[in-house]
C-alpha cells in the first residue's frame, strides 16, 4: 500500500515507516510563537525546567496580534518576549515584519518535507510549501521549545481533487469557502487535507496559502499541497536546499477523496456565524455592510490586494463603509506600495494599516459595535470574532470585498 504525503513526511523524518493513526514523538524543524500565545509558551518552557531552547535557529519569534502595543498588558507581553529572545539568542522579528504565517513562509522558515508547529491555529498555512504544519497550544509549545519534539497522532488525509478553470473574479478563497461548506466545520477533525489536481498545479503560491490556511476551519490538522515547480521556484532565495520529489503515492490510502470543479463556481460568501456556511454571492447580494476588511494571513498578500485594486478601478469606496486594508507583511506592503496601490486605496477612501492581524484579532482595533456588519477576507466569522457578539461577520474573497466596499452592500465583483 502506498503512502500519503503526510505519512511520507513523518516516515522520512523518523527513518521508519509511519502510517496514519500511529502516535509518534516527532522531531520539529520549526516552532513559531507570537505575542498572544508566546508568553504562556515561554512560561511553560520554564515550568518544565527549560533553560535553553532546543535550537535557537529553529524558533521563530514575532509580534503581530497587538502591534504596536495597544495596551499596557500587551506592551508588557512584548517586553517579556523580547527579554526571552535576547536571553536565548533567538532572532526577534518583533513588530516589524507582519502576520506570523506570512513571515514564516516568506523568510523561508518552513520548507517542503519539514514538520513545523506554531502556537496559532492557522499554522496549517505552511502546507502551501509542502511542509507538514499544524497549530498547537502554548503548553505543547513549551514542550517543543525545550525538547524540539512533540507527540503527534499521524493524521489520515482527505484528498481534495480540484479541476476546471477559475472564472473571472473567482479564486482560491471562493474555492476554500466552497470546500468548507462541503466538508463542514468538523468534517476534517484529526485529518489532513491534501489539495491536488490540475487547478492546484496551476495555482500560484498566494492561492495555495489561502487554501491551506483554512484547513483548520474544517477541523483539519494540516492542509498540504505537494511541492512542485511553483513551490521550488518560491523557495529560491528563501532557503538553500536542493529540490526533491515529494507527493502521495497513487495507491495511497485516503480517509476520503472529494472532487471539485471550479469552472462554474460563483464568488462565495460565508454567512454569520460559522465558516462552513458558504453560499454563492447572489444569495446574500444587497446585504448592508458597515466595515470591509481586506487583509489577514488568509488574504493579505500582494496578489489579493492587486485583485482588489483591479476591481476598484477608478472608482471610490462608499463613504458609508469603513474600508480597512492591511498587507500581510512588510514585503507584501512594499510590493503594494511600489505598484502604486496604496496611493490608489488611500485616494479611494480606505485606511491602509501597517502589517498585522488587524480586526481579525478581535481586540486590537477595527472592532464592531452591536448590530454592525463586517465583510472580511479573513478566515473566521464566529460570533464576536471582530468585536461585539451582536455584530455580524461575512467572509469573502478580496474581489468581492472590494466590490462591496464600492457599493456599500454585498456585491458580486463581476457586476461593478
Amino acid at each position: 500500500m502506498g503512502a500519503t504525503i503526510v505519512e511520507k513526511i513523518f516516515s522520512k523524518k523518523c527513518g521508519n515507516d509511519i502510517r496514519a493513526g500511529e502516535v509518534v514523538m516527532a522531531p520539529i524543524d520549526g516552532a513559531m510563537i507570537h505575542d498572544i500565545t508566546g508568553p504562556l509558551a515561554i512560561q511553560k518552557f520554564y515550568e518544565m525546567g527549560g533553560s535553553k531552547v532546543f535550537d535557537t535557529e529553529q524558533v521563530i519569534l514575532l509580534f503581530d496580534h497587538q502591534i504596536p502595543a495597544d495596551s499596557i498588558p500587551a506592551a508588557e507581553n512584548h517586553v517579556y518576549m523580547r527579554k526571552f529572545a535576547a536571553e536565548q539568542g533567538i532572532y526577534n522579528y518583533d513588530i516589524n515584519e507582519g502576520v506570523c504565517h506570512q513571515v514564516v513562509l516568506e523568510k523561508g522558515r518552513a520548507a517542503p518535507g519539514e514538520i513545523v508547529v506554531g502556537a496559532d491555529s492557522h499554522t496549517c498555512m505552511y502546507g502551501a510549501v509542502g511542509a507538514f504544519a499544524t497549530g498547537i497550544g502554548s503548553t505543547d509549545m513549551g514542550f517543543v521549545l525545550k525538547y524540539g519534539a512533540l507527540y503527534f497522532k499521524v493524521p489520515e488525509t482527505i484528498r481534495a481533487e480540484v479541476s476546471g478553470k477559475f472564472p473571472e473574479r473567482v479564486g482560491a478563497k471562493d474555492l476554500i469557502l466552497s470546500i468548507a461548506a462541503d466538508i463542514g466545520a468538523d468534517g476534517a477533525t484529526y485529518q489532513a487535507i491534501e489539495f491536488a489536481g490540475k487547478t492546484i498545479s496551476k495555482l500560484d503560491m498566494a492561492g495555495r496559502m489561502t487554501l491551506c490556511n483554512m484547513a483548520i476551519e474544517m477541523g483539519g490538522k494540516a492542509g498540504i499541497v505537494a511541492p512542485d515547480k511553483i513551490t521550488w521556484e518560491y523557495m529560491k532565495g528563501r532557503r538553500k536546499m536542493k529540490s526533491f520529489e515529494l507527493g502521495s503515492d497513487e495507491d495511497a490510502k485516503y480517509a476520503s477523496k472529494r472532487t471539485y470543479n471550479v469552472s462554474d463556481m460563483e464568488p462565495q460568501v460565508a454567512i454569520p456565524h460559522n465558516v462552513d456556511t458558504g453560499v454563492p454571492v447572489s444569495k446574500v447580494a444587497g446585504t448592508h455592510v458597515d466595515q470591509v476588511f481586506i487583509g489577514s494571513c488568509t488574504n493579505g498578500r500582494f496578489e489579493d490586494l492587486e485583485e482588489a485594486a483591479e476591481v476598484l478601478g477608478k472608482k471610490k469606496f462608499n463613504r458609508n463603509v469603513r474600508v480597512i486594508i492591511i498587507p500581510a507583511s512588510r514585503d507584501e506592503y512594499l510590493k503594494t506600495l511600489k505598484a502604486g496601490l496604496i496611493e490608489k486605496f488611500v485616494k479611494a477612501g480606505a485606511l491602509v494599516e501597517a502589517p498585522c492581524c488587524g480586526p481579525c484579532m478581535g481586540g486590537a482595533f477595527g472592532l464592531l459595535a452591536p448590530g454592525e456588519v463586517s465583510l472580511s477576507t479573513s478566515n473566521r466569522n464566529f460570533k464576536g470574532r471582530q468585536g461585539s457578539t451582536e455584530g455580524k461577520v461575512y467572509l469573502c474573497s478580496p474581489a468581492t470585498a472590494a466590490a462591496s466596499a464600492i457599493t456599500g452592500v454585498i456585491t458580486d465583483p463581476r457586476e461593478v
Partner: protein
C-alpha cells in the same frame, strides 16, 4: 483597550489532576461548534491568570456563566467543542471558574490537547446533546459512565498516549518527570 488585569505575565500555578470520579456537578449546557472566541473573546488574551480569565468566560455568549459558575460545575457541549483559535486561554478560563471537566459529543483537536495539557479533562460522550442545562451530573471516568439526573450515558476512553499526561496532572508535570524524550519512537494510539 479596557483591561481588567493587574499583571500580564503568566502565573506560576500547577493545576490539579482532574477528578476521575465526581458527584453532583451542575451542568452549563452549550450547543454545537462552541469556538474558543466564544469561550474567551480576543480582547482578553493579554490575560493569562485563570481567575482573571474566568471573569470573562463566555462573555457576550452567555453572560450569567461568569457570574454564577462555581467550583465543581461542568461544561457540556455538542459537536466540535472548542473549535477555532489555539488559545490556551480557553481551558484556563474554565479552570479559573473551577470547571475542570468538559463533556461534549466531539472536540476540536487543539482544544482537546490544550485541555489535557493544562488539566481540564475533556470527556467524549456521544449523547452529550441529551444532557440538559442545569442537570446534576455524576461522573465515573474509569467505568466510562455519566449519570445526568438519573439517566446514564457512556463516555469514550481518552487515547492511551494522552492518559499518561492526564495521570501526571498535565503536560508540565509529565515533562518534568520525563527522563528522555523518545524521539521517533511509536506509542500506542
Amino acid at each position: 483597550m479596557i483591561m481588567a488585569v493587574k499583571k500580564s505575565v503568566p502565573v506560576k500555578k500547577v493545576v490539579k489532576i482532574p477528578p476521575q470520579t465526581a458527584q453532583n456537578m451542575r451542568v452549563w449546557k452549550f450547543g454545537d461548534d462552541i469556538d474558543t472566541d466564544a469561550i474567551i473573546p480576543g480582547r482578553f488574551l493579554t490575560i493569562y491568570d485563570p481567575k482573571e480569565l474566568s471573569k470573562h468566560a463566555f462573555e457576550g455568549t452567555r453572560d450569567e456563566y461568569a457570574k454564577k459558575v462555581k467550583a465543581g460545575d461542568i461544561v457540556v457541549g455538542g459537536r466540535n467543542f472548542g473549535c477555532g483559535s489555539s488559545r490556551e486561554h480557553a481551558p484556563l478560563a474554565l479552570i479559573g471558574g473551577g470547571v475542570n471537566v468538559v463533556v461534549a459529543q466531539s472536540f476540536a483537536r487543539i482544544f482537546f490537547r490544550n485541555s489535557v495539557n493544562v488539566g481540564v479533562l475533556p470527556v467524549v460522550c456521544k449523547d452529550a446533546d441529551k444532557i440538559a442545562d442545569g442537570a446534576k451530573i455524576s461522573l465515573n471516568i474509569k467505568k466510562g459512565i455519566i449519570d445526568a439526573d438519573g439517566k446514564q450515558f457512556k463516555t469514550e476512553p481518552v487515547p492511551e498516549f494522552m492518559q499518561g499526561i492526564i495521570d501526571a496532572g498535565g503536560l508540565v508535570e509529565y515533562a518534568k518527570k520525563l527522563k528522555e524524550v523518545p524521539v521517533c519512537t511509536k506509542s500506542r494510539a
